[in-house]
Amino acid sequence: MTMHRLLARQIRQSTDESGKVDLTKLGELVSAAYEESDGDRRSTDRAIKLMIEELEQTHKRAEQDLGRAREFLDSIIENIPIAVFAKDAKDSRYILLNRAGEEYYGMPREEMLGKTPEQIFPDKIARVVNEQDRRVVDSGTPMFLEGHLLEVGVKGRDRLVNSRKLLIRDGGGAPQYLVGVIEDVTERITNEARISHLAHHDALTDLPNRSAFNAALGERLEQAQEAATSFAVLSLDLDRFKEVNDVFGHPVGDMLMRAAADRLAAEADGAFVARIGGDEFMILMPDDINREDVLGLAERLVETIGTELEVDDYLPHVGLSVGIAFYPDDGVNAATLLANADSALYRAKREGRGRVRVFESEMDQELRDRRLLQHDLRQALEQNQFLVYFQPQARVDGEVIGFEALLRWNHPTRGFVPPDQFIPLAEENGLIVEIGEWVLREACREAASWPRPLQVAVNLSPVQFQAGDLERSIHQILLETGLTPTRLEVEITEGVLIGDFNRALNLLRRLKALGVRIAMDDFGTGYSSLSYLQSFPFDKIKIDRGFISNLEATPQSAEIVRAVLSLAHALHIPVIAEGVETEAQRAFLAREACEEMQGYLVGRPDLIERYLDLVGVTVERRLYA
């Protein structure tokens, strides 16, 4: 018998040197070993029992967690607005359907779960569904159908859906489920179509926009080159549309724009009409229409727009100018054709608006000249090509009371450029702000040097009111030159007040607070709204030269001058008449109690040297001062 190692050890430990076994000690050791074994067994039992309990709890917790996760996922699937279903891969029997799915199929899930497509759908649909299912199961590749019409269900036949089917395999790789998703994309597709429409159409008029026009023109050019046909491009611009916007406001302007667009599109039926920005339109005419027909249409367009458009009880009056360029005569590429149609349009506008012009090669030259002039204008200031002329202003009895400062451009090669040619250009590119300041400074410096405290009147451009700090620069100039503010008079046209009326009014009030006098220029032309006179206490009204020169010729002019004078007098505003050239005109004005006059009768615009005696400088003093 082999003895247990522990017992052998215990016996050895209980045996003394003589070989005698101490039974009591052995008993104690054996007993203690039993105790240890019992203790270890108890501890092991307890540990195993506790471990089982703990593992059971862990398992239960895990099951609960799993249940909760499942519920969570179920509630997501149940509530997403996309139809979701699952089927048995073997026989296409439905095993899951969410709420959106019920809506999609138009039946409660109880009627579908556990059933095959044949048991649910009409034969024709069941066949399609089964075919799709088999294809996905056999190939293992997902099916994805995009934007197709709803073939089944009650949501309406016009709905568009994306549908996909996906195979799920079991752990062994065998087909187990088919999961399907059906998403209603009707709104999305409609939106996409709308966005695409917006990208190519002008939002206000719904006409094709510039990019659509460019694309159409490019296409037309290709076709025309291949087929050797010809066609016309029309560039159109509404005349005075900006004024309508300014005077009647944008809502009226918008309505007018829509009405004008409708008329153009209706009249140019069959042509490609596009709004390419602001008040500009382009028309691409059909192929092989002869020049006369194109011109005929253009004339009709001018006529139809020229007919007053009644918009929201207003009758704003706009006109249309048209420029025409022909392919291939006036250009064989888009850039040239468009530029030449624009040149013709520019000419039409310059010649008095409401006209149709066909491109001629010298127009090209004209446009180039205009650009050259603009270029020269930039250098004029730094090269001291500008001059200030002074024209005397007098009481009707002849006593000179001041001068109007007038800008002149003495070009080194062109000579004197007419102000009506270069001032609009300077206003276009903003140079007028700098030039205007220069004129103000020169005029003030000059006036400050006069022994007699005469008035000096300076014209301000609307652009100066919009850009820069006009108040500060006038203040600065007055300080610099030492001119008494009350001697400075600024002349503004109503163009200053059209647009940002409140801003302009504020600026005028602040200028007036400096002591500067404010005169309303060109009164009687334009809208001459009486509300301007009411809204600001002008120091002077200047009657436009047109009325004075026609005094003898047309009785209406005399009546208008009388009316303006009586209105001004009623408002206690003195009036100055411009363009007085004859004694008869002066006599008329004197009779009608017009306070002041300006014109060749008093003196032409000239360098101040010519008027030194009027400003109180003796020639000698001037020469040797």
Partner: protein, 383 residues
């Protein structure tokens, strides 16, 4: 190398055999805390070996040869042929001081021909993990460092370490062995298995665990030990160490034993830091698996001793008090298992500790272990 083995008991005082022909360079001794704290044993050894370094610590049972005893003091006196021995010693005032102590000790002993370090440390105040990290940081990962934390049976009151003086608490000793002939082989293994569910360390601070899966850890131990055994915590808690899995160091096997109990907070203090967010799993063992683990440690140490050896070979066994508590009278089995692997020609001495220091089998860098048997074999190569 020559070894003189000797032991002390109350009946006969010191007894020894094979007196050394030349003065001893180093004397190692282990005894119970009660047996050492008077300083008497040290003074007697000093009388016997006036010129040698004398280093020892309190234990949870002393190992000599095949036997374990609680009331005897065991010692070996060593004389090397070609090896020099130097000592370093530090006072560890608080747990936070442990890494710095380790660094200071290592700096004192570091030298190009340093061939091995054996460390004995206070087992309750010092943070063994930090101490070892401090030493590693100075001497590098390639130098073998072994040793153990002094013990106080399963009482956890205080532990003693003596370095050329009477053994006292808060002391750390390190013995440096120098020279090309010195051989230092080691093995370390446990034999424990994880059981039950994994638990999350939901709240901890340093080595104090406040919550496991949101529950006070004392409650868990009380359930597993039973009320009666739980009253004997922390000693009884040694039966269930914990394996810690730290995501930051997924390959590291960390086993930690309970060191202290706060019955009010129901928290437990472990032998080293347990970071919050780790996974913890209880471990247990049976007599056979622990013995087999010890045998594995012996096998590792013996197989690492490849050279031809001149003279005697000494094996220092440092095993965990937790193992002894689980094995009871079967503790002998683990000593037998080590002996069978080491062979008859190796002298064995050692002690039951509060923590073992040795590189784990997988990596070279030494670490603090709990619940293992570590075997350090020292010898000198043949010339």
């Amino acid at each position: 190398m020559h070894i003189q083995y000797l032991h002390w008991n109350a009946a006969h005082g010191w007894r020894g055999a094979n007196a050394l022909r030349e003065p001893a360079q180093l004397v190692l001794y282990f005894g119970s805390r009660e047996g050492l704290e008077s300083g008497e044993r040290y003074r007697e050894l000093r009388g016997l070996y006036p010129d040698g370094h004398i280093v020892g610590c309190s234990a949870g049972g002393q190992i000599h040869g095949d036997d374990i005893s609680d009331d005897e003091v065991v010692a070996v006196a060593l004389r090397f042929e070609r090896t020099q021995v130097r000592l370093a010693s530090e006072i560890v005032a608080s747990r936070d001081d442990s890494r710095a102590c380790g660094e200071r000790i290592a700096r004192q002993l570091a030298a190009p021909d340093l061939a091995g370090l054996f460390v004995l440390s206070d087992g309750l105040v010092a943070n063994g993990n930090e101490l070892v990290a401090g030493i590693n940081g100075i001497v590098g990962p390639d130098l073998p460092v072994t040793g153990g934390l002094a013990a106080d049976a399963t009482k956890f009151e205080h532990t003693l370490v003596g370095v050329d003086g009477e053994p006292v608490p808060n002391r750390i000793a390190a013995i440096g062995f120098y020279g090309a002939s010195f051989r230092f082989a080691h093995g370390c293994a446990g034999g424990w298995d994880v059981f039950g569910p994994s638990r999350k360390v939901t709240r901890s601070e340093g080595s104090v665990v406040m919550q496991l899966d949101g529950e006070p850890p004392l409650d868990l131990y009380t359930r597993y030990l039973g009320e009666e055994e739980a009253a004997a915590m922390p000693g009884s808690g040694l039966a269930f160490p914990m394996r810690i899995h730290d995501e930051a160091e997924p390959d590291r096997q960390i086993v930690r034993s309970v060191f202290a109990v706060d019955r009010n907070a129901r928290s437990l203090t472990f032998a080293a830091d347990i970071p919050e967010g780790c996974t913890a799993q209880l471990m247990r063992a049976n007599f056979d698996s622990l013995a087999a683990g010890a045998g594995e440690a012996g096998r590792q140490a013996r197989s690492a001793l490849a050279d031809e050896i001149a003279g005697d070979k000494l094996a220092i066994l440092v095993s965990c008090t937790g193992r002894r508590r689980v094995m009871g009278q079967r503790t002998q089995d683990e000593l037998d298992a080590v002996a069978a692997e080491l062979g008859d020609d190796v002298v064995r001495i050692g002690f039951y500790s509060y923590g073992e220091i040795a590189p784990p089998a997988a990596s070279g860098r030494c670490e603090l272990h709990n619940q293992t048997m570590t075997v350090t074999v020292i010898a000198e190569a043949a010339a």
